[in-house]
Each structure stands twice: as C-alpha cells, then as structure tokens.
Symmetry: C2
Subunit: 68 residues, 2 copies
Amino acid sequence: MDTTTFTVVGMTCGHCVGAVREELSKIVGVTDVDVDLDSGTVTVTSATELDQQTIDAAVDEAGYEVAR
Amino acid sequence: MDTTTFTVVGMTCGHCVGAVREELSKIVGVTDVDVDLDSGTVTVTSATELDQQTIDAAVDEAGYEVAR
C-alpha cells in the first residue's frame, strides 16, 4: 500500500469534491481517495506507487489543478 | 410565456449551476432556465405562471436556497 498526498486548487463545493474523487478513483490500483474541501488536501491510497503525471491527468480531467 | 426571476444563494461553481438548472427544468411547463453564477440570478421561462412554492422546492431539491 502506498499513499500520495497533494493539494488540488479550485474546488468550491461537494460537487467539485465528487468530481475529483471520481476521476482519481478510476486510476488502476487506487483503493481509496480522501478529499478535504476546505484545505484542498487530497490523499490517495493505492496498491502501488502512483506517478505524478497520472495524478495530474486525473485531476485535470475533473476540471481542477494540482498545486505546485 | 411567462418569466420568473429570483436569486439562489449558495452556488459556487458550474456544478452548482448545473444542479439548479436540472431541477428547475423538471418543472412541468418550463422551457428555459438561465442561471448566472456570479450574481445568483436565475430566470425561468415557462408556458404558464409558476408558483413560488414549486420553485422553492426545486431549488431545495438541488441543494440550494432561494433568497428572500
């Protein structure tokens, strides 16, 4: 098990949280996605280590951006 | 044709706009729903005059509130 934590910018409501969670959940190996709306903190639990490009692409697909 | 204009509070993003538009569009006789996210102004076009309770219920169903 591996966890990856990052910050997503632009989320404003529960719909946004749901969209980000949905896209990240689609990544192969992901078993859990935790999103904190107030802080933008996202923690993804996965069977194997995820690469940043895959995460960035999923967050982008949801319509948001990973903070750098 | 009749138009009804009111303000919805609590919308923060395009998902919120979509949710409000979807519920209002379900009201019988409604032909168009225009939502301005920045101001919260919603204009509903309908074949016959809509009563406020019906509008309130639809906005509530979407998870928001009509400003008084």
